[in-house]
Symmetry: C2
DNA sequence: TCCAAGAAACCGACCTGTTGGTTTGTTTCT
DNA sequence: AGAAACAAACCAACAGGTCGGTTTCTTGGA
């Protein structure tokens, strides 16, 4: 019965448990409702251990945000990767996106985004990891639209789609409108919209955003 | 110096001050940071008075939500009404929408929406007033697109636009993407999209949403 | 190989401040 | 006089954070 675990293993285990519990609590009770005690309990970890690994609540939530965004990135990649080659249309991508954004992970994400609105340190953390997640999503979605060569255009299309799906998620939380219908409509219009963007791309968009990231 | 005020005046004044202070606090400190003491202080009202008019925090915030959504409705109407007849294009409407959603009122709204996600009573209040606000916005935007006769289509278009703008607002808070660019693009694509919707409207959208509200 | 000493993980009691809500009393209008 | 609006003291609950002490692993010298 003697299970001798290395220190590294122990820290990894409890930290993992804590972060998972934190994310769960964010989903279930919101940011304010996510107390350190609750997290510790849920993680099956003593409060002392929690404070040892994450001295302050911000440390805890900050680490959880890192994990959360990383998880989301994997979730995206996973969901997209398993779409058969033949079905890689924009509509399908939107479906996948919508499903993910409807899940618990995005609830937690929205929670920290809103919390970050009035918490400078938190916001800094979020903005830091947001860029990475965005890059992942962009790369993935670009994968779904190989016909778009211009990286700027691709970026814009992805932006619009993601923005729309995100807005739909918020609408659902708020009880506005009919998010499902919006998504359905978006799915229908996605491809023609891309064409339209291609058409308007050369003109009228000059002034802003001259610099762009390049591989 | 004796200013004799009627009871009715007094209650109206302090309640008004409290609700305004509540909304301000929501904007500045978020839902969790909006404590009853803070609100009372900011309203220049004793805590006793506050508890007299709104015995519980939920009563306070609930009333504030009513006011908030009513304010938003007026703000929308106001902003839209003062757009000259000649400029009533969808693009212009989107600009107005974006400006409003970038303002403090929407920050407070998002705050309570997210809070409502994990607070049943709050959510009930929000869902209650959301319908009213939605109706206002729909009516207003329809005003900007008189060529859309079909109420179902009009509703859908408005839904999409509002969803997009809302998503852009959240994106900005989260540090995602380039919300301004998304809005710009939306403005460019709005009119062609309407045409496309008109084209696809007859087909493929049958199954869901057969019933609709009618004037 | 063994074992002492150090480091890291862990534990739970404790402290301080704040929260929402209650209660008791005072002022202002009716 | 009676009711309301208002004021402030008060309370229990709970938050995040600190702290002394215990257990578990690691390490390096005999």
């Amino acid at each position: 019965m003697s299970e001798r675990r290395t220190q590294e293993d122990r820290t990894a285990a409890t930290q993992q448990a804590l972060l998972k519990a934190t994310i769960d609590c964010l989903v279930e009770y919101g940011y304010a409702g996510t107390t350190t005690r609750l997290v510790a309990d849920r993680a099956g970890v003593s409060r002392g251990a929690q404070t040892h690994h994450y001295p302050t609540k911000r440390d805890l939530v900050g680490a959880a945000i890192d994990q959360l965004f990383a998880d989301q990135a994997s979730e995206f990649t996973e969901a997209f990767k398993q779409v058969p080659q033949s079905e890689r249309t924009f509509g399908r991508a939107i479906d996948a996106l919508w499903e993910i954004v409807s899940g618990p992970a995005y609830a937690a994400t929205l929670e920290v985004i809103v919390a970050g609105r009035t918490d400078d340190e938190l916001r800094a953390v979020i903005h830091g990891v947001a860029a990475g997640l965005e890059r992942t999503v962009v790369d993935l979605l670009r994968w779904f639209a190989p016909d778009i060569d211009d990286p700027v255009t691709a970026q814009r299309v992805v932006d619009v789609i993601f923005t729309l799906v995100q807005g739909a998620a918020v609408s659902r939380y708020g009880g506005f409108g009919d998010p499902e219908a919006v998504i359905g409509l978006t799915r229908l219009l996605a491809e023609p919209a891309v064409a339209a963007i291609h058409a308007t791309n050369a003109m009228a968009l000059g002034p802003n955003r001259s610099q762009e990231d390049h591989p």
